[in-house]
């Protein structure tokens, strides 16, 4: 048993300050354990959100020593306990209290994205056929636990606060899961360029760095979507081909 100090952001609605809480720590503890211990021993009114303690619900997102991480998946032995460990709420969303932020903006964004629109069933009994190989690509995106750490670290939201013009990496992953789905027929390219603002991403890859599910957000979701936008809007050769062949749909659409 040894003692470590946790420097936790306390306050409400954007106002607040750090407070130090020394507490005993033992082998195998994660940051969320320490927060719970502080909550029960020293600060009963400390607000924090959590649910599964297994890195699967995406509730316990916070900034630990300045890095967006899940509190339940950050083991204390990864941190320098000689110095106080800072724990702050996510900075890209409205602050509610202590470590809790209001992430409801994300749910409103999701509602604006065209839903999955499958092709007509392939069989008479109303079922579809897919190859595992074709669904593998979108399965990576479906690992997302909606922790919104990628949204928090993305400088377009965090520093430039372009929440009205940019959906953020989490929803580009969501759009990629729909757009690249072998059965989906909807076309989200125009919205990607306009309302969803894929062009704001400058591929600096912070989202990929923080994703607890190790989704290759930039390489596998965002850049391929940017390329689809280029196909449609910025490639004169493709435009010529479309003109000759007719139609605006890319060759990627399901049939």
């Amino acid at each position: 048993m040894s003692t470590a100090t946790f420097r936790i952001w306390r306050g409400e609605r954007g106002d607040g300050r750090f407070e130090d809480y020394p507490t005993t720590v033992s082998e195998g503890m994660v940051v969320l354990d320490a927060v719970h211990q502080i909550q029960s021993d020293q600060a009963n009114d400390l607000a924090c959100r959590w649910n599964c303690k297994a890195g699967k619900c995406g509730s316990c997102s916070a900034e630990i020593n300045g890095k967006p991480r899940l509190m339940c998946m950050t083991r204390l032995n990864e941190l320098d306990l000689e110095r106080p460990v800072t724990i702050e709420p996510m900075r890209a969303f409205p602050h509610v209290r202590d470590l809790v932020t209001d992430v409801s903006w994300n749910f409103r964004v999701k509602q604006k994205i065209q839903k999955f629109t499958p092709t007509a069933p392939h069989a008479a009994d109303g079922t579809w056929r897919m190859q595992q190989r074709d669904i593998d690509r979108v399965q990576e995106f479906r690992k997302c636990i909606e922790c919104f750490l990628c949204q928090d670290v993305c400088h377009v939201l965090r520093d430039h606060q372009l929440h009205d013009e940019f959906v953020g990496p989490r929803f580009l992953v969501h759009i990629a899961a729909l757009e690249m789905h072998p059965l989906d027929t909807a076309d989200r390219t125009a919205e990607l360029r306009e309302a969803h603002g894929v062009g704001y991403c400058n591929i600096t890859k912070c989202c990929t760095t923080v994703c607890p599910e190790s989704i290759a957000i930039t390489d596998n979701a965002i850049i391929p979507l940017k390329e689809r936008v280029v196909d449609r809007y910025y490639d004169p050769l493709k435009a010529l081909v479309r003109l000759v062949r007719g139609g605006t749909k890319g060759e990627s659409r399901a049939t």
């Binding site: 409400e12 300045g66 190989r133 690249m180 990627s252």
Partner: protein, 266 residues
Amino acid sequence: MAYAPLPIAPRRFGETMRTDAWWIQPAVIFLLFSAFIVYSTWAALQGNHYTYGPYLSPFYSPELFGDSPHAWFGAKPGWWPSWLLFSPAILILWAPGGFRFTCYYYRGAYYKSFWADPPNCAVGEPRSSYLGERYFPLIFQNIHRFFLYLALVFLVFLAHDVWQALWFTDAAGHRSFGIGVGTLVLAANTTLLGGYTLGCHSLRHMVGGILDRIAERPVRRAMYDCSSCLNRNHMQWARLSLVMVMFADLYIRLCSMGIWTDWRLL
């Protein structure tokens, strides 16, 4: 539910709660890219010492006009304005330069290291305004795939240079097969550039990424798998090939100047 309409105030430039040395990585990249820009500009403007024996510096390949035996169309053209500096490299270097400049990896890297947008993840930025690649001027980065087409052609020229580097002419004028250290340097350079170019995000998209159903297209699938495999380490290919192309020029330059000796291995 009641909540403050705004998050906690954004951080000022360089402000962060990160406790690691977050500035080292962008600083190293800044130095590496700056070194490349300075060296390649200097080397391209020299207009000499770019060949040695059968070797041709990759900065000067293809040599369209020039004084070496590698030149395609002979010496410097008569119509070239006398007041304008001539070097075979400046005729062609814009193509690989543009390819790297618009590459997705390099873009992300220099936005961080040279423009601090952001300086590193979760570190405060110097400017509050932001246009990203959504508007002019950076919307022009979308031109990348056209530079890719050129880069693929250049790859063929560089492979041909490696072939050329296998044939040495002796004092009597006989051409014979051989391998020198320079041959290996040029081969390594072409291999690294190949790994970099064939793992390009635009190529990966074109050969298969655009298809949502690829299982039943074996050729496209194989191409997509190859490109994806190289793409996973695109950053490493980009950095290594950058260093190697500089070294290949330096090697040939120093051999040509008589400072280094090119060892014949075979």
